[in-house]
C-alpha cells in the first residue's frame, strides 16, 4: 500500500471545496484527490498514492514506471477496493 502509481488525469472538478478528478491507470479509473497538485490539469500525468496525487510527472516517465509496476504484478492489490462504485448499504 505504500506504492504510488502514475496515471493520467481524465477529469477534474470541485467537490465541497476539494479538487477531485478521475485518474486512469491502464484500464482502470479511480477517483483521485488533486488538491496537492494544483499545477496539474486534465491530460497531465500524476503519481497517485492511496487516492491522492502527490506529484506531477511527464508522460514518458509515467508510462515507464507504470510498466515496471505492472511487471511486478503489484497494481491489482494496490487499486483493490470493496467499496469503489458501491452504493449505500441498507
Amino acid at each position: 500500500m505504500c506504492l504510488a502509481i502514475p496515471g493520467k488525469i481524465v477529469s477534474s472538478e470541485m467537490h465541497n471545496g476539494i479538487r477531485v478528478g478521475r485518474v486512469q491507470f491502464g484500464g482502470i479509473t479511480r477517483e483521485t484527490c488533486l488538491d496537492f497538485v494544483p499545477e496539474a490539469s486534465v491530460g497531465d500525468y500524476v503519481i497517485v498514492h492511496v487516492g491522492f496525487a502527490i506529484s506531477r510527472v511527464d508522460r514518458e516517465e509515467a508510462e515507464r514506471s507504470y510498466e515496471v509496476l505492472e511487471s511486478m504484478g503489484l497494481l491489482k492489490g494496490e487499486l483493490e477496493s470493496d467499496l469503489e462504485g458501491a452504493e449505500a448499504e441498507k
Binding site: M1, C2, L3, A4, N16, I18, R30, E31, T32, C33, D35, F36, V37, P38, I47, H49, V50, G51, F52, I54, S55, V57, D58, E61, R64, S65, E67, V68, L69, S71, M72, L74, G77, E78, L79, E80, S81, D82, L83, E84, A86, E87, A88, E89
Partner: protein
C-alpha cells in the same frame, strides 16, 4: 543475471553495473528503506548482479510490517464490535495479531472492508450514518497527508460516525535508531522516493550531520536503484557523506508543501512502537487534541491494549538489516504468505514476501518439497 533481460533498459543497467565494478574498491553495506524498492531489487535480481562486496540489506520501510502487534489487536477488537465497520488497506487483513487477524474477524461476521483510499471510507460513513465507521490508518509520510485529509474533511462536515485508528510512522527517526544501534552495519542509505516526494529531503541533512552517512533519495525503477547505488558507492569511495537526489523527476528539496500543511494540521509527532524493533522516540504521528473526537483509540477505549511478540519470527532482525529473510529457519516452510508468522511475509512490500516470491530457490532443497 536472470531477470534483467526482461527490462527494456538492460544495456544501460549493465553499463552502470560495470561502472560500479570499476569504482568499488572496498566492501560496502547499503540499505534501501522502502519496501517498494525492495520489490524492484528482487524482481530484477539487482542484488545478485552487483560486484562482490556490495551488499544490500533491506530496511523497515513497509508500513504494514512495522505496525505494532497491539495496534493490530486494537483493530481486531474494534472490528469485532457490533455496529462497527472497520475499513483498511488490503494488506492489513492477513497481518497476524496476538490471537487473530482481521481476515478471521471478517470470516466470523465482523464488517471489515478493504479500500484503496481513505476517501472511500469517508463516503461510506456519509452513506451509512447508522454504522460506526473506523478507518485503520497506517503508513509512512507518503500516506499520512491522505489520511489527514480524511479526518480534516470529517471534522469540517461534522461526520460523527467516522473515526480513525491511526498508526503512522516516520522514516528519519527509524534511520536514526538503526544508526544508533551498536549492531549497525549500514554505511549508506537509498532514501525513500515517495516519502521524500511529500516531505522533501531537508530532514535527511540533519542525519548526515549527526552520523556522517551518505543518503541518496532514489526512485523505484531498476535504473533508479542502480543509479542510486552508484551514487552511494561513489560518495563512500570518495569519503563524502551528503544527501543527493537521484529521483529528481518527483522529489524536490522542499517536498509537497500542500500535503505537509494538512499533515501538520491534523497530526502531531509522538513516540511509536515499531513491530519487531520496539519503541522509537518521536517516530510516529497521532491525531492532535483538536481532532480527539475522531480518535478511535479513545472512542472505543482501547488505549490500554498491550501485546508481546512471538519469539520464532526474526522480523526484528530482518527489518533492521541484520539478517536476510532466508536466514530464518521458518522461511518458506512454517512461514509463507498464506500462513505468515510475521508481518514481512504478509505485505506485498515486506522483505520476506519479496524473497518468497523471487528467491524461493534459496530455500534448502530438503524442505522445498
Amino acid at each position: 543475471m536472470k531477470y534483467l533481460d526482461e527490462y527494456r533498459n538492460e544495456e544501460i543497467a549493465r553499463g552502470i553495473v560495470a561502472e560500479l565494478g570499476r569504482r568499488a574498491t572496498k566492501p560496502w553495506v547499503l540499505m534501501e528503506i522502502c519496501g517498494g524498492q525492495t520489490h524492484t531489487l528482487m524482481r530484477y535480481g539487482i542484488d545478485e548482479m552487483l560486484p562482490a562486496g556490495i551488499e544490500l540489506v533491506h530496511g523497515p520501510g513497509c508500513p504494514v510490517c512495522v505496525t505494532s502487534l497491539e495496534t493490530i489487536d486494537k483493530a481486531t477488537e474494534i472490528a469485532s464490535r457490533p455496529g462497527v465497520t472497520l475499513i483498511s488497506y488490503g494488506d492489513m487483513l492477513r497481518v497476524p495479531g496476538s490471537r487473530t487477524d482481521l481476515f478471521h474477524v471478517k470470516a466470523k461476521g465482523g464488517d471489515v472492508r478493504v479500500v484503496y483510499s481513505p476517501t472511500e471510507a469517508l463516503k461510506f460513513a456519509r452513506a451509512n450514518p447508522g454504522r460506526k465507521v473506523v478507518f485503520f490508518a497506517v503508513g509512512f509520510e507518503t500516506t499520512a497527508p491522505a489520511n489527514a485529509m480524511a479526518v480534516w474533511q470529517a471534522k469540517r462536515e461534522g461526520l460523527a460516525n467516522f473515526s480513525m485508528l491511526a498508526s503512522h510512522v516516520l522514516v528519519p527517526p527509524a534511520i536514526r535508531a538503526l544508526l544508533s544501534s551498536p549492531r549497525n552495519r549500514v554505511q549508506g542509505f537509498i532514501g525513500p522516493g515517495h516519502v521524500c516526494t511529500v516531505m522533501g529531503y531537508r530532514e535527511y541533512q540533519d542525519l548526515i550531520r549527526e552520523f556522517r552517512v551518505p543518503i541518496v533519495v532514489g526512485g523505484f525503477e531498476p535504473l533508479d536503484l542502480l543509479e542510486a547505488i552508484l551514487m552511494l558507492v561513489t560518495q563512500l569511495e570518495e569519503g563524502r557523506a551528503e544527501v543527493e537526489n537521484q529521483y529528481v523527476r518527483s522529489v524536490t528539496y522542499e517536498g509537497n508543501l500542500l500535503a505537509q500543511k494538512v499533515l501538520a494540521e491534523v497530526f502531531e509527532v509522538c513516540d511509536r512502537k515499531w513491530r519487531g524493533i520496539g519503541g522509537i522516540p518521536e517516530s510516529g504521528l497521532s491525531l492532535r487534541e483538536e481532532y480527539a473526537e475522531f480518535d478511535a483509540d479513545r472512542i472505543f477505549g482501547t488505549e490500554g491494549v498491550t501485546a508481546d511478540e512471538p519469539a520464532e519470527c526474526i522480523s526484528a532482525e530482518v527489518l533492521q538489516g541484520l539478517k536476510k529473510p532466508t536466514d530464518c529457519s521458518a522461511f518458506g516452510t512454517r512461514c509463507t504468505p498464506e500462513n505468515p508468522l510475521g508481518a514481512p511475509m504478509v505485505s506485498s512490500e515486506g522483505a520476506c514476501a519479496a524473497y518468497y516470491r523471487y528467491r524461493r530457490h534459496a530455500i534448502p532443497a530438503t524442505v522445498n518439497r
